[in-house]
């Protein structure tokens, strides 16, 4: 299969969908003239014009609010948050407007808005340009949340998000943009809500998503040498998360580890662990381990930033101690 970058995969999804449906447009800061700060919009305005690929002012509440309003008027907006870190600026538009409009108005409308949110650590991004805040949205009914880990899923999930008639937040990792992977030719969708058993195994389940899938795979490889057969699940969607796949795996392996780059406390891992401790505790042969960032903002200096990162050794060590 051909290999393209994550960034190119999102571009393909965008242009295929925009060709298909004229009501789709995209807006955000620095996406048109420059093609996006990560190049993830390059060429789009050339094909679709500056009307459908719009640079905006630095006005996140207007960008998000106008996305919602345009959807109410029959459009299918994709809004770009520049950095996921800036979602706090328009949090009210996200959680009090976008998430609630369909429900509180009794289902009078559909709200096909996609929010694209580049997240995660970059080198030296520091406290306000490195965050992973997906877990907040797990607690906000009315939004779906997807978070691809590789180019193929990036394309398929973005297409699914755009076609969904509900608001979908699409978290895309800044480091992953540049990474290549096999992407099928032609039309396909990765369904929202379905996790991917990326590697089957029988001894322990690692659940992860986004860039941490790489560490999950690496840990699995190392552990294989010690005879530990790891099942690796890529969550892909955080809301609604795939309860069946998780339970099935845990019932098989009897051991659960969750890995994400976001802060451990109150992270997505907490919900997954709690879910399993509620639904399948009797199947567990070991504590549920969570790996996530320490409880601090992201520090700038490379030494500190490194210390902030999840370490494969820690995952490996943690898993070994489960046996």
């Amino acid at each position: 299969m051909r290999e393209i970058t994550f960034s190119q995969a999102t571009l393909e999804a965008m242009s295929e969908e925009m060709r298909r449906d004229k009501s789709i447009f995209v807006m955000g800061e620095d996406i048109a003239r420059q093609g996006g700060i990560f190049g993830q919009f390059k060429g789009l305005p050339q094909e679709f014009g500056f009307d459908r690929v719009r640079d905006t002012p630095i006005s996140e509440t207007a960008i998000m609010g106008a996305g919602v309003g345009a959807a109410l008027a029959g459009m299918r907006p994709v809004v770009d948050m520049h950095f996921a870190d800036f979602m706090g600026v328009c949090m009210d538009e996200i959680f009090n407007q976008m998430a609630k409009i369909r429900y509180m108005f009794g289902g009078q409308c559909r709200l096909p808005v996609v929010v694209r949110a580049p997240d995660g650590l970059t080198s030296g991004g520091a406290a306000q340009h490195s965050q992973s805040i997906e877990s907040w949205f797990m607690h906000i009914p009315g939004i779906k949340v997807v978070i691809p880990s590789n180019p193929a899923d990036a394309k398929g999930l973005l297409k699914a998000a755009i076609r969904d008639d509900n608001p979908v937040i699409y978290f895309e990792n800044k480091i992953l943009y540049r990474e290549k992977g096999p992407v099928p030719e032609g039309e396909y969708i990765v369904p929202i809500g379905k996790a991917n058993v990326a590697k089957e195994g029988k001894d322990v389940t690692i659940i992860s998503y986004s860039i941490m899938m790489k560490k999950a795979f690496e840990a699995a490889e190392i552990l294989a040498k010690d005879g530990i057969d790891v099942e690796v699940i890529d969550l892909r969607t955080i809301v609604p998360y795939d309860r069946e796949t998780i339970l099935e795996s845990v019932k098989k392996t009897h051991r659960l580890v969750i890995v994400h780059e976001a802060v451990k406390q109150g992270g997505v891992g907490a919900e997954i662990a709690a879910f399993v401790a509620e639904e399948a505790i009797d199947y567990l042969d070991a504590p549920i381990l969570r790996f996530g960032a320490p409880f601090t903002p992201v520090p700038f200096s490379p030494v500190l930033e490194n210390a902030y990162r999840i370490k494969i050794e820690d995952i490996v060590k943690g898993i070994k101690e489960m046996f």
């Binding site: 609010g65 009210d92 009078q108």
Partner: protein, 321 residues
């Protein structure tokens, strides 16, 4: 002096009476304990929604506020379903999920009241963007209070609407109060319309208790917007006659102040005086309209009260498509 068609005059009077009677009725039933939640009445401000919406068609949009009954009615929503929503019934516009603060009727372009002050600005701007991209001739109106004009969302929405030349009418209902704080104490300008300068858009002031003035100013703004002329900010000066919400102890002002304002500026009285003086309508015509509206509102309460509450199981409906 402009001449007005009988049809328009009737619309003005009918709509203002409908809103007034609706609100008085809601107040009564709220105080009776039949309506839950928070209710903010539009009494004394009827001329604004009425004068503005007289310029709109069903395919135009409005974004409303926490004080949204008047906007809903003026935009042409069915009063039965409006009343039923406020009573929390299944037959309400939102099937009882919204209530007073989240009343909406998408079928007539009323895109929703909002419990977040200033939450509507950018929704309206986005709806206008949709209109423009679809090459429609419609407009998008956002109602907001003097208090709401201090929200950052006003600024971002106004800038975007102006920079992108979108068909938005910003209608500030300056009723001199933001909840318990008088205008001027927390707002740095006397006239909200002055803020239009910062976005290069026209800013006009009208007497918000005069439905004719509101109508004329909006007409101009709407025509401008429909022709691609971009947004306008209209400030309608009025006064909040009732407490901020039903049940407000109103510790922050005197009864006399309110009484004086209402006597001087009741928009319905002023309309009646004007049309009688100008001989545009007769006492009899006015009385007949009022009676019809009384009947309508009475029926709406019956409708609401006879409607079932939603079933508990419906809690899980309408979240996702």
């Amino acid at each position: 002096m402009t001449e007005y068609s009988k049809e328009l005059l009737t619309y003005f009077y009918r709509t203002m009476c409908r809103i007034r009677l609706f609100e008085e009725t809601v107040e009564k039933h709220f105080l009776n304990g039949e309506i839950p939640g928070f209710v903010h009445l539009y009494i004394g401000e009827e001329a604004i929604a009425t004068g503005v919406c007289a310029n709109l068609t069903k395919s135009d949009y409005i974004e409303s506020t926490h004080r949204g009954h008047g906007h809903t009615i003026a935009k042409g929503a069915d009063v039965n379903r409006a009343m039923a929503e406020i009573f929390g019934r299944k037959t309400g516009f939102c099937k009882g999920k919204g209530g007073s603060m989240h009343i909406a009727d998408f079928s007539v372009g009323m895109l929703g009241a909002n419990g977040v002050v200033g939450g509507g600005f950018n929704l309206a701007v986005g709806a206008a963007l949709g209109i423009k991209m679809q090459e429609r001739k419609d407009v998008s109106v956002v109602f907001f209070g003097d208090g709401a004009s201090n929200r950052g969302t006003f600024h971002e929405g106004a800038n975007l609407a102006a920079a992108w030349n979108l068909p938005v009418i910003f209608v500030c209902e300056n009723n001199k109060w933001a909840s318990t704080t008088p205008h001027g104490s927390q707002t740095s300008v006397e006239n909200i319309s002055d803020r239009a300068v910062g976005y290069g858009m026209p800013g006009v002031i009208v007497d918000g208790n005069d439905v004719f003035e509101v109508y004329e100013a909006t007409k101009k703004a709407v025509e401008r917007a429909r022709q691609g002329g971009g947004p306008t900010l209209i400030e309608a000066k009025t006064y909040r006659i009732k407490g901020h919400f039903v049940g407000d102890p109103e510790l922050y002002r005197t009864k006399e102040e309110v009484k004086e304002q209402f006597e001087k500026n009741d928009p319905i009285k002023r309309f009646e005086m004007k049309v009688l003086e100008e001989k545009w309508m007769t006492e009899k015509e006015l009385a007949a309209i009022k009676e019809e509206e009384e009947e309508l509102i009475k029926k709406s309460v019956e409708f609401a009260k006879n409607s079932p509450f939603p079933d508990a199981s419906e809690i899980y409906e309408d979240l996702y498509v």
